[in-house]
Structure formats: C-alpha cells, structure tokens
Symmetry: C2
Subunit: 312 residues, 2 copies
C-alpha cells in the first residue's frame, strides 16, 4: 500500500453542484461562499463554468464571480470551459486553470455535448492550439470514466485513447469523472493502474459520485493506488439526473473528515468547512446529503443529562 501523506481536495460544488440549482443565487452570495471556502483552507476550486448562459443561467455570472472572489496566494481557480468561446471568456477572466471535457461513452457525449467523441477530440485540439502560449493550466476531464448510464461498462481502450489524446496535446492533468456513480473499487484500481502505466507523468484526479453509497469507498481504493487528488462538493450538493433522490458528488466535509481520521493532510479546517456547508444549506433552504455537517466531528461530545439513548 502506497497511501499518500497529503491529498489535494478540489471543491467543485460551486460548479458541479450549483449548475443543477434552478433558483439563481446572486453573485455576492457565491463570492461569500468561495471566500468562506478559502478561509477554511481550500486552495483548489472549480469555481464556475464558462458554459453558455442560456444552457446554465445559474453560472451566467462566471466572470463576475472570478473577479469578486478572494484568491489567496497559492490558490488555483479552475473553471469548466466546454468550447473555444468558453476558453476565451476564461482567459479574459484570468482563470488559473481550464477544465476541458468529453465523455468516453459515445451516447453520453452525444447527449451531453451533441457530438461524437472524435468531434470533441477535434474541438479539444483547437482549444489546445489556442492556449498553447497562454499562462493557464490545462486539465482534461473524462466523463463516464467508470460506466455510462446508457451503455453500461465502458471500454478501457476508449478511455486510454482519449487520455492519450489529451497527453499528446500537452495536457498533464486529467480528471476521471464518475458522472453517474458507477465506479467500484475494482474499476478504480484497474483504471488508475492502466493510466499511470501508460502516462506516468499525467497527474490524475478522481471525481466520484455517491449515487450508490460507495463514493468514499472508491476514494479509499484511489488512495491505495496512490492517487492524491480528489474532487468533492460542499455538503454533497449536486444530484444525479438519472436517479431522482439519489446523491450526486461525494461530500467535501465527509471526505475531509475521512482523510483526517486516516492521518492524511489536506490543509483544510473541518470546523470552518462545516460552517460554509451550513451556510450553503441555509441559502438553498434545504438539507444537503453531507453527514458530518449533521453529526459533527467524532469528538464533538454530547451533554449527558439531556441525552436519550435507544435501547442497544
């Protein structure tokens, strides 16, 4: 076992979580949440998406959010950039990192991006060409990396071909997205080992959903394979469009709690993080899936006098 001593937790709630919220959250509130995350020690965040404002009105204020947020030294503000136009906007808004994505399932890519995988690869090639001389980090993201809700198991060869394409275009960071929660410990191990073998200098990030309750188990599989970068969402914000009522992204506080208890450093203050998650709950006016925000860290003790026990 080769468990890393420290792990980078990338907060994606402001993008992957908020994009599913229909009620617009004003820019000042978004900035306040991001600043709270920074104050809690988060240093890598997917802060917004330069997607078409018509497609996702919630993120229409992407440039204003980047301009308004406190961006401490050493922080990395990533943004999703689905096309060349989004990339231009991301550069103009001084994002530190663009995340360029496609799916490794033809049917999911068609549904999500309205084009074939090959066509997406051409688009990504044009994006790589555009940012060649720009001081911005390029990160690739592969959706449905552990399964597709339409096709089931995905072909490892397709995944490797897409990863190879990113690599050939100069990308040295790659996220594997478990878009609908189909990852399992064995798939994680197999996929990570194959990618690391083929592209040892590619920095891998794992993005799990808790749709089937085993998101954090998959993190542990990733840790055992030596992966030190994970994406998660504040409070577990963000659902799964294929499973009404099911969880989406794994929850950042629960992830940080687990890493703390495993003795793995994150640089994040769990108490402050829980405060931001609670603020998110009050903004949205509903309970989020996160567990640690409800129960508290394990040594937050309870008063004896007013406690009630269930028998056993």
């Amino acid at each position: 076992m080769n468990i890393p001593a420290s792990v980078e937790v990338i907060e994606v709630g402001m993008r992957d979580g908020l994009q599913m919220e229909y009620q617009f959250i004003d820019t000042g509130t978004k900035v306040e949440l991001i600043n709270g995350l920074m104050a809690a020690g988060v240093r890598h965040i997917e802060a917004t998406s330069f997607v078409s404002p018509r497609a996702v009105p919630q993120l229409a204020d992407a440039a204003e959010v980047l301009a308004g947020a406190h961006r401490p030294a050493g922080s990395r503000f990533a943004v999703l950039a689905p096309n060349l136009k989004g990339v231009e906007r991301a550069i103009a808004a001084k994002a530190d990192e663009i995340v360029v994505f496609l799916s490794c399932s033809e049917s999911h890519n068609e549904k999500n991006l309205n084009r074939s995988i090959d066509r997406s690869l051409e688009d990504i090639s044009a994006i790589a060409q555009r940012v060649k001389d720009v001081d911005i980090i390029k990160k690739g993201a592969i959706a449905c990396a552990f399964g597709c809700p339409f096709e089931g198991d995905i072909d490892l060869d397709t995944l490797m071909r897409i990863a190879g394409n990113f690599h050939a275009l100069g990308f040295r960071a790659l996220t594997l997205g478990d878009t609908t929660g189909m990852a399992t410990p064995r798939l994680v191990t197999r996929t990570v080992l194959a990618l690391r073998d083929a592209f040892p200098e590619m920095k891998l990030t794992l993005h799990f959903h808790n749709t089937r309750g085993i998101g954090l188990v998959n993190v542990v599989a990733g840790l055992n394979a030596g992966i030190d970068s994970y994406e998660s969402s504040l409070g577990g914000l963000g659902g799964c469009p294929f499973a009404p009522g099911a969880s989406g992204n794994i929850c950042t506080e629960d992830l940080v709690y687990l890493l703390n208890e495993m003795g793995i450093q994150t640089g994040i203050d769990l108490g402050k993080l829980i405060d931001v998650a609670s603020r998110m709950e009050s903004i949205l006016g509903r309970s989020l899936p996160g567990q640690v925000m409800k129960a508290g860290p394990r040594l937050r003790l309870h008063g004896y006098e007013d406690a009630a026990c269930a028998m056993g």
Copy 2:
C-alpha cells in the same frame, strides 16, 4: 490483504431500525418483511428484541413475530435479550440466538441500561448460567466499541476486559457496535487485531453506523482485516439519537451492492432485497437513506431518448 471470499450479512433493521419507529407496525406486516428478506436470501437476522414492551412498544409482539415468520432451514433468528426476563421469553419463543449487550463506556451504559459496566457483567454472568444447557447461540454485543458520545475515545483495555468476560462465560460470538458512528478505519483495524490476537476463536461481527458518512469505508477496513460478518439495516433504517437528521445503521442494499462489486459472495439477491426495502419505505411513508434503492444496480441502464444530462 486477506479479504474474505464470502461474507455473512446480518439484517438488523427489524430490531435496531424499527425500535426507533413510534408508529406501531402490525405483526403481519413485520412477518411479511422478514419473509421477504428470507426470500431474498438473508439467513441471519436480528428479528426483534425481548425488551420490556413498556420501554419499546414497537417490539411488544416479539414472540408473535418469531412464531409467524418463515424460518427456512439454515436460517438463524437472533433476538436482543437485555436481561434474564428477556432471555426467558427468547427461549420460550424458540429464538436461535440471543444477543446480550452492554456498553464499554460507563456513562453510556449508565444512560442506556441504568447500571455500571460491572453490574452489567454480573447480569450477563447470570444469563450465561441460565442458558448453559439450552440449545441457543450466545452472542455478546459491545456498544460504543469505537467511541462514546459522552466520553469520546474509549479505552481499549476496557473493551478487552469486557470481551474477555464474554469469552470466559463461553460466548464465542461477539459484535462490536459503532453505536453513534464514531468508528474510523484505523480504529477498526486496531481493535480487530487486538481482539483476534487475544481471542482467536471468537467470531467477530462488525456493526457500523453511517452517521459520519464513512460506514462502508469502515466495512472495507474490516474486510481488509479478514472480518466476514457485518450487521446492516434494510434501507439504512434507524437514526442516531445524538445527531438529528444524520444516518444510523449502514444500509443493507448498499452493503450487498459493494460486496457484489468487490466479488465477495453474500447469497443475497440484490434486486429482491431492493424490493423489500422499497416495501419498507412505503410502509413507513417516507424515504430511507439507502442509495442503491434509488439509483439501482450500476448496470440497470437508462433509456437514451428521455434522459437529460447536466453539462459535464
């Protein structure tokens, strides 16, 4: 790593779950649920508790439930028996196994059982004497085995002393209860190794709660330590009295799903199990925490035409 090839999943929802439900569920419905579990392949169940009907009215029909349920060959119907009177009732009702419990935290034991640990150990000694010549399996259960909501970390020496006491009284089965969800992978490994070292012939069962979101991660820690027996609750029924809104027991379907995907045999049909969990939801009239019951197994595919994708 010494992961077992097959695992015993002990269903505790009918006891640990239902005891927190104030609305009485009629005996016929309880029997129907148990029969559904048996039809799904569950063979070891904590079916009810011979606790005082005044303390837990929901389980006042313990004897009728045992008499009414289909008990297939090879099944093991366990019952909680908090005192000598409960043991008498369990014997009369022909339970296969009695579970006798105490807490390894003085303050929790006082709150839950209204007596000291030493006094509980005396009671258990009297129970052991009573069942010495009775054909019934004796199982011990230690609550708060991984932490106490009042005292925080528990003393491993106290846990070992209690386990030694059960051992000396002839108990060869012991459950470690994570009563308020304070277990962590490191505590699981440490505790299991210490107990197995001291009492190699004691069969250990792990009972985790998902109060802080890492219940199934703790199962994996147990599997890595070679433990092949876990307790869980249908749909994740049962909360945590110390954390309103937080989860209680780990969910049986999610556990079985994980074990399936790890290639570990359980003898349980996941589809049939989900049907029983859905029936439990409809009986209770509310959503339960289980995830797989909402999302379905990973290869239950979705129709392409009517699906909507979130961007990315």
